[in-house]
């Protein structure tokens, strides 16, 4: 263990909460070779201006539409999916917001009359994560960009896209700085700046382990008489303890010195003008987490079900911070959905294009990362699902879903370089499970058009 690294991490901790450190992309692979595939899911909202986003069905032979121009260089690695039904949402056709919480469950939702539907089981990321496992204890990693900012709706289905089971929403991490410290941190020195005493660190770990053993025993006893639904809650809690336990045990086994670098600056997670920086930091952390063997599944929620707090005018060129006709204090995602064009300019299309450029950069980074398990690059062993729960913001359509898959060589499964319409999201979920090797899944049959 690199003692300087540990004290440096402590220094980072001491920098204060609410700041984020980035980037982590000078990381190098330090764990033993791993043949498992990796899944990234980025959960967007408010759909796309379809005419500028959706290519013609079939092979991607011509130029991509305007919003996807930045993806042109990657199009051989892409599958555009559109007009997919979403069986997970039984609400109205124009109530796409309500589909948010079930978008990655894809099956019939839990009963109830809530506006924001909840899944009746684990979302596809969890099905895959459980199948892949993780040496570090983090079977999956989940982050979000400023979904905590108001206005927000307290309903679980409004701001939780990923679930370990029915009634078990995953709380995403919100602060890249804290995430960095937790993920790449290890034993603490006795005092900031002091070297770590490995013996003391081991003793501390043993003591923490005995506490967690006690907690696990309590949970086991606690659930004995509970009803079925309540037992599931306790099971979820038990899993979280086991995950924490594994994280503690693995702390120090990852060569964090090779995976981390000194952060260039701070980010306020409550300042909505810092959204892009938080996004960039989390993409870097997700990639580093997978490169360093921390996890095989990473998700990022770009917004809650409406995107009301996302202030595009602050950082997207061509979207003014404030303009005539705005119905909101700033040009947020939701406002873009309803009022895409102002003053003759299609701001929503500009934002769609900005996001596709971000995806292109993410693919660039994956392609620039060394592969594991014999793959040439990290991209070759990874699948990126750029998801959405809505057709187009202007129609709030809940049953014509656009998704985008990106993978180097289709991760040995997908037939990339094409655009496929129709079917439903459960079929894609099935394909993703199959591609990742999670063959025991509830999503039924895949879409034959997607498979090599």
């Amino acid at each position: 263990m690199n003692k300087w690294e540990l004290s440096r991490r402590q220094l980072l901790r001491d920098l204060g909460l609410g700041a984020a450190c980035l980037p982590l992309l000078n990381a190098s692979v330090s764990k033993a070779a791993d043949v498992k595939k990796n899944l990234f899911i980025v959960a967007a909202t408010e759909g796309y201006r379809a005419s500028n986003w959706q290519p013609a069905d079939g092979a991607l032979t011509g130029p991509l539409p305007k919003s996807c121009v930045a993806l042109e260089k990657h199009k051989a690695d892409l599958i555009f999916l559109h007009t997919m039904a979403n069986k997970a949402f039984t609400g109205c056709g124009a109530c796409g917001h309500g589909a948010y919480g079930t978008a990655y469950y894809t099956l019939a939702p839990k009963g109830g009359t809530g506006e924001y539907a909840e899944p009746n089981g684990a979302t596809l990321d969890q099905v895959i994560a459980k199948s892949l496992g993780s040496d570090s204890g983090r079977i999956s990693f989940h982050a979000a960009t400023q979904i905590q900012l108001p206005p927000s709706n307290g309903g679980p289905g409004h701001n939780h896209a990923f679930w370990t089971g029915a009634g078990q929403p995953i709380n995403p991490e919100l602060d890249p700085y804290k995430t960095y410290a937790d993920m790449f941190g290890g034993a603490k020195p006795a005092a900031p700046g002091m070297p770590v005493d490995d013996t003391a660190a081991k003793a501390m770990l043993a003591r923490k382990q005995s506490i967690l053993d006690f907690v696990k025993g309590s949970l086991d006893r606690f659930k004995m008489r509970l009803g079925t639904d309540d037992r599931a809650i306790v099971d979820g809690h038990f899993s979280s303890i086991r995950e924490l336990e594994q994280q503690l045990m693995s702390a120090g086994t990852i060569n964090t010195g090779a995976c981390a670098s000194m952060p260039p600056g701070m980010i306020s997670i409550t300042d909505n003008t810092q959204y892009e920086k938080i996004y960039d930091a989390y993409i870097d952390i997700m990639i580093s987490a997978i490169r360093c063997g921390v996890t095989h599944v990473a998700t990022l929620q770009l917004a809650d079900a409406t995107g009301d707090s996302v202030n595009f005018g602050a950082y997207v060129p061509g979207v003014p911070a404030k303009g005539t006709g705005y119905k909101t204090a700033f040009r947020n995602w939701h406002d873009l959905g309803h009022n895409p064009v102002l003053g003759g300019v299609d701001h929503k299309q500009i934002v769609d294009q900005w996001w596709m450029a971000k995806l292109s950069v993410m693919i660039d980074k994956l392609k620039a990362s060394p592969g594991v398990g014999g793959a040439a690059t990290l991209f070759d062993s990874s699948v990126v699902l750029w998801g959405n729960h809505m057709h187009e913001g202007s129609d709030h359509g809940s049953q014509a879903i656009p998704w985008l898959l990106a993978s180097g060589g289709g991760a040995g499964y997908f037939k990339t370089g094409q655009c496929v319409g129709g079917g439903n999201t459960a079929m894609v979920a099935a394909d993703l499970c199959n591609a990742m090797g999670a063959t025991m899944h509830p999503f039924g049959s895949g879409n034959p058009a997607l498979k090599k």
Binding site: S218, T228, G236
Partner: protein
Amino acid sequence: MFCVNARFRIVALLMAAGCTGTVGGSGRSNGAGGGDNSGDNGNGAGGSSTTRGGNTGTGGAGGSGGSGGTMTATGPDAPGPVQLRRLTNLEYWNTIHDLFGSSPTASDFNKDLDAFQSGFGRGAAITKGTDARMFMDASDGIATAAVSNLTMLLPCKSVPAAAADQDACIKQFITDFGLRAYRRPVNADESSDLFALYTKQKMLGASFTDALQSMIVGILQSPYFLYRWELNTAPQKDGNLIKFNSYEIASRLSYAFWSTMPDKTLFDAAAGNQLQTPDQIFAQAQRMMGDDKFKQTIRSFHLQWLNGEDVTGLQKDPTYTTFTPAVAQSMLDETAEFANRLLFGPQATGKMDALFTSNVTWIDAGLAKLYGASVTGTGQQQVTLKPEQRAGILTQASFLAAHANPDSDHPVRRGVEILRHVLCVDIEIPKDIMVPPVMPQPDQTTRETFTAHSVDPKCAGCHQMIDPLGFAFEHYDAVGGWRDIDNKKMVDSSGKATIGTLSLDFKDAIGLSQQLAKSDEVKNCMGAEWLRFMIRRHEGDGDAASLKAGSMAFSSSGYDLRELIMSLTKTKAFTHRTPSVGEVF
């Protein structure tokens, strides 16, 4: 936009209101939310609606239901199952404070979630290692602070020299502290496990104090501490129901009235099994209502009830110069103090009428500016607002600003909120409709814009109820300030609405509030909302008798909310539960 479908039904309200009808549907559309979010001028839900609080029918309690083991319970006096819920953030930190007698610095936990369609909070699920780490880190910090004062913490007051004395001290600590942390006596197995944790820590080289600290860390991460555990003790059967034992009632009372753990009086009563009869429970409720700790619950209820608590994070158009983060906080403080003055202290009347009609309030200078009132000095001052502009909680800025766009009011959101939480009418999302967004028109008022938006026949059913309620507040802008002119036209806030048997005819929000204050539907809804808050689930058919009993007490008291709240503690919805599906006896 909220639209109607053919399934619109009005159901029976409480018996005391003299209403009859048919119960339809179950569950609640969305307790925590209500309508679409800001920036969305009317898009979204709508559809069939159901007035809650019925006394017959097939409504459910939400979540799991049905029987447990071989026991089944049905009928109007067979309350639904209790769902396991973790302490809310407020409950957690209050409990920590009372457990250790100090106020630690609260950590950031995940935001509370809606508790089983009740509209009131429960602690967020713990599902990932990162969640568990939050509680581990918080427990570490709390325990570290706690062991810095062993005299306060330990029954033996200091660290005994002899190992045997140390063990004896720890065992006594487990008994004493365990009772308070688990909110009931620690049983032999649990005591043994805790002592084993202590000895294991010592084996690993920990000192007495460090081992004690680790044990506290373990206790604070234990489900018996983190969850409301009333589901988990040996069940006390009462026919086909389970009756909560005295310790369980103590917890139900303390979290309902104080949002924290039981105090010594409650523990003593529980130890003597003195919390079993309705009179015993009522007496404690009466006592607890007179304690300062009740104020926090009053605040918590009123800010959650009308979903005003998010107002502090809202961003409003900069043209609203009276709206600042400090003023937003003052809005919450105003509503809390307004409710406190109504329900707490010797001058309180408790009358529901005042909740909806009083123009006397408590505001600071910043909020006074928004209201066009005058306040001198610092802090909250009692102010009488213009009676033609303000009447009760629905005309307070916390409600008005929370249910508005950043730069305009939103009559649909305001109307839906009243429909759902003041009249207890559930609204379901219609299927197979396409709702165009509402676009502001340069020559139209907000009312005119929304009226044009609601002409679709499929939407008209619900909007006949929603829109008039929302339009009544057209005199209040996006931050709750008064206006006579909207988009260069005179504001029209008049309206008529028929909601079940309730007919409303008003010229503005003042008139509406006055009529709501007198309506049986609202009185019944207040009973349902307080019951939801106290038991953190949506009422079902099996709660009808409990709601009826609460309603009768409410009526007998001249609609004193305090009597309503206390009377609910005597009902089976508070003292009993139906076994959960799969529960093991």
